[in-house]
């Protein structure tokens, strides 16, 4: 296998979205007959890399070689013509059409019919239980995903790229999927699949490439790896290059404040800065949102939501109006049923100054601000509510260095002022840098990392490699 010429070769791929660098000179090589796992945390750049390989987005820099020929992938159609099939993370079939109609649709106008005969070349196992005449919205999730693969193969793909295919599947279905991928490769194809689950790498992959913050941190045969080496490559060992403050806060003195809330059974007190670490899809989101939904006995809960542009702000509204969102019952902003526009605008101007929001006054639409200034608006609103508990999800994602350190300073200050501050971040360095206590969510269960635990210990806990201590063992 190792002597084979690569079928797909990406070299030095870089890609930025606005101020966010998704890929920094990443290499990826796929050889025939192999299953290649692309491993990394959320936001590591895996999807971007795969989308570039499938012609969905053009790279800023770098070269793409397909079967040893330099290629520019102008569109997904170009990639498809070269035998590259992409299975999207989200299903792309039309529910009201039948299986065969969806397949025909994916083959395009020149693709011809999608009947039993024309599809007879596809592996029988893949087609098993997938009736060509049934409507797609009657299929199970696993069947719909199988259809996505069929669609890719029906266009004659010999290189199959799967964007996190196991995310929607039950464990037994995952095994079936992985063995289907192995089947495809055994017939001479080559496949790469994205995952952040180590187990899948060891079950199904020949080689693995690990991405972290847009750069490849490890690439090689799976047989030479252990869970620990992969985890380390995924979560990183080096000091982050963006200069954020990563000095671990010193251990806390024993606290006497009353318990304000429980997070997965672990009691938390006012004035504490809690870092929450978890790999995407371990139930941390639901735990955080459950806590954010109901005001605790100690007072209100304010949330800095992860998805800033859809949940945090309303781009069409002014800064003043965006602050009013969630503050419209606050006596500083309204009187009973009436909004006090004069006071709201004056208070907005004050907050613009306090938080250093770069904008020409309170009436500017938030959508015209930079991401960092938008996040400052969200943070200003959360703090203006003077909550007892502040929950911040990925509060610095996509921000530049200065905005990042500003947001982090504000969160520290909030805790010093007596708030209970929970910070969830997909960036483990940020969790470790900010959190006085670190809670790890794995498979919906919360455990507390020992004081002073380093990134390796926490990383292994995130991956579920450490025997779990009892929930609630973190009390003191």
């Amino acid at each position: 296998m190792s002597g084979d010429e690569p079928v797909l070769e990406l070299r030095g791929i870089s890609k930025s979205f606005g101020s966010v660098q998704a890929l920094r000179g990443a290499d990826f090589v796929l050889v025939p007959g192999e299953v290649h796992a692309l491993l990394g945390e959320n936001g590591a750049g895996k999807s971007t890399l795969v989308h570039i390989a499938a012609g969905m987005i053009p790279p800023d820099d770098g070269t793409i070689r397909i079967r040893c020929v330099d290629t520019k992938l102008r569109s997904p159609r170009t990639a498809r013509a070269l035998g590259i099939g992409l299975v999207h993370q989200h299903f792309t079939s039309i529910g009201a059409l039948t299986v065969s109609e969806n397949i025909a649709l994916s083959m395009g106008p020149a693709g011809g019919r999608a009947d039993r005969q024309s599809l007879s070349g596809l592996p029988e196992r893949l087609m098993a239980g997938l009736s060509l005449d049934s409507r797609v919205d009657r299929l199970s999730v696993a069947q719909r995903q199988r259809l996505e693969i069929v669609k890719a193969l029906a266009t004659g793909a010999t290189i199959l790229l799967l964007d996190e295919p196991s995310a929607v599947l039950a464990p037994s279905e995952v095994d079936e999927l992985l063995s289907l991928i192995r089947d495809f490769v055994a017939r001479g194809g080559a496949a790469a699949f994205i995952t952040h689950k180590l187990r899948e790498v060891f079950i199904a992959a020949d080689r693995v490439t690990v991405l972290r913050r847009g750069a490849v941190t490890l690439s090689g045969r799976v047989s030479g790896q252990t869970e620990a080496t992969l985890a380390l490559a995924m979560l990183g060992t080096a000091v982050p290059e963006d200069g954020a403050d990563t000095t671990r806060p010193s251990a806390l003195p024993v606290r006497s404040e009353p318990i304000m809330a429980h997070f997965g059974g672990i009691p938390l007190r006012g004035g504490e800065l809690i870092g929450v670490a978890a790999i995407e899809g371990n139930g941390q989101r639901k735990l955080l949102r459950d806590l954010a939904e109901r005001d605790s006995a100690a007072g209100s809960v304010a949330l800095v939501p992860e998805d800033r542009t859809t949940e945090g702000i309303i781009p069409d509204l002014s800064i003043s109006e965006n602050l009013l969102l969630g503050l419209d019952r606050d006596p500083g902003w309204s009187r009973g049923r009436w909004i006090d526009r004069t006071r709201a605008r004056a208070r907005t101007t004050q907050l613009i100054n306090t938080f250093g929001i770069r904008a020409d006054g309170p009436d500017v639409a938030v959508g015209t601000l930079s991401g960092g200034n938008q996040q400052k608006v969200v943070l200003a609103r959360a703090l203006e509510r003077r909550p007892a508990i502040l929950i911040a999800e990925n509060p610095t994602r996509g921000l530049d260095i200065r905005a990042t350190s500003f947001v982090q300073d504000q969160l520290r200050a909030a805790a010093r002022a007596g708030m209970l501050v929970l910070i969830y971040s997909t960036d483990l360095d940020e969790v470790l840098a900010l959190g006085q206590r670190v809670l790890v969510v794995h498979a919906g269960r919360v455990t507390e990392a020992p004081q002073g635990a380093d990134r390796q210990v926490v990383g292994e806990m995130m991956l579920g490699l450490v025997p779990k201590r009892q929930s609630g063992s973190g009390e003191r």
Binding site: L303, P305, E311, D316, W338, G371
Partner: protein
């Protein structure tokens, strides 16, 4: 601030200008003299006090009331396409009540007629609201389809239970004199104009000065942000807005019966409920703007009659101008959105 205020007005003027240009081209292409035809249109709408008061403004009244109803729903992101149906529901209820209040003092009779009309509008839209809240049915479709049901209900009413006592024509008996609105002497302009303007001002205050108006706008612009960051019960707020929207459209039907026709008949509305969508959009859902855009569309409808009388141009030709105005407004909206999207930072990488 001034630029922000001026933008929509300039857009609206440009859209109206585009509408007339396209209408003129269409007229010329069909062999009419656009100068003569548009002159007739202008005289029909504004040529005299009678034309303005009795033709333009009389048509503007239902357009303003229904436009306010449409705007109320659209503000909350709910697309009430059923103002036509709610108008008819209001008209049926108003007629039935209006016939039975001959013995009442006039103020009370008019109040009863309008209340019945507004309630009927609410009942009519409550079906789509229930379907939306309980089953997630899109109100665009359910409100639209109920328009046809309402038209059929009018046909049934004027050939059945509400048909005139003589049973000759498919129309109702006229409502009692006590239920009719006072007219401005020497014209057909009725007291409904006061109601329309007052309601527009009230809605403007509610939209721009109250918590309710703010929550409605937030829910309409971004349900996710309204729910997560604003703690707003989005579905409840939007459902409430739809019910009030139905009340306004129903009231529009009641005002038309008590101020203009006094009787119910088929095709009572020349599509007011649909034109009202254009009225609301041209005004960018601003209630004060709706007074102006409602008057403009009233003028177009009135001018169309003049154009037909004087220049022999079919009145429907005016719909070319109406359609062009709406397309221009929507195009401006899309372009503004694109320009804004370009200045917003790119999405986070997946």
């Amino acid at each position: 601030m001034t630029g922000k205020r001026l933008g929509p007005i300039l857009t609206a003027l440009a859209a109206v200008g585009a509408g007339f240009v396209v209408l003129a081209i269409g007229l010329a292409a069909s062999g009419y003299d656009p100068v003569v035809a548009l002159g007739a249109l202008g005289r029909g709408a504004f040529g005299s006090w009678y034309a303005f008061g009795s033709a333009t403004l009389v048509r503007a009244i239902p357009l303003i009331l229904l436009g306010l109803g449409v705007a109320l729903a659209f503000r909350g992101g709910a697309l009430n396409i059923g103002a036509e149906g709610q108008f008819y529901a209001g008209a049926i209820a108003a007629t039935w009540v209006g016939i039975h209040v001959a013995a009442w003092p006039s103020g009370l009779a008019i109040g009863a007629v309008w209340s019945a009309a507004a309630v009927a509008g609410v009942i009519w839209i409550s079906v789509p609201v229930l379907l939306k809240v309980r089953f997630g049915v899109m109100e665009v479709i359910s409100t639209l389809l109920l328009n046809f049901v309402a038209e059929a209900a009018v046909s049934y009413a004027v050939t059945g239970p509400l048909q005139e006592a003589k049973r000759v024509y498919p129309q109702s008996d006229p409502i009692a004199a006590t239920a009719r609105l006072p007219l401005l002497p020497g014209s057909r302009l009725h007291g409904g104009i006061v109601v329309a303007v007052v309601l527009a001002v009230i809605l403007w205050v509610l939209f721009t000065r109250t918590r309710w108006g703010f929550r409605l706008k937030a829910a309409g612009l971004s349900p996710e942000a309204a729910r997560v960051s604003g703690g707003i019960p989005v579905l409840r707020v939007v459902a409430g807005a739809l019910l009030w929207s139905g009340a306004l459209a129903g009231l529009g039907g009641g005002v038309e019966i008590s101020g203009v026709t006094y009787t119910l008949f088929q095709n009572l509305s020349p599509g007011y409920g649909f034109t009202a969508i254009a009225v609301a959009l041209l005004a960018r859902l601003n209630p004060l703007g709706i007074i102006l855009s409602g008057t403009l569309f009233g003028a177009l409808e009135a001018g169309a009659q003049g154009m037909q009388r004087e220049a022999g141009v079919p009145a429907v030709a005016v719909q070319v101008a109406e359609a062009t105005i709406i397309l221009a407004v929507l195009l401006a909206e899309v372009l503004a959105r694109r320009a804004a999207a370009r200045s917003i930072s790119a999405p986070d990488p997946a």
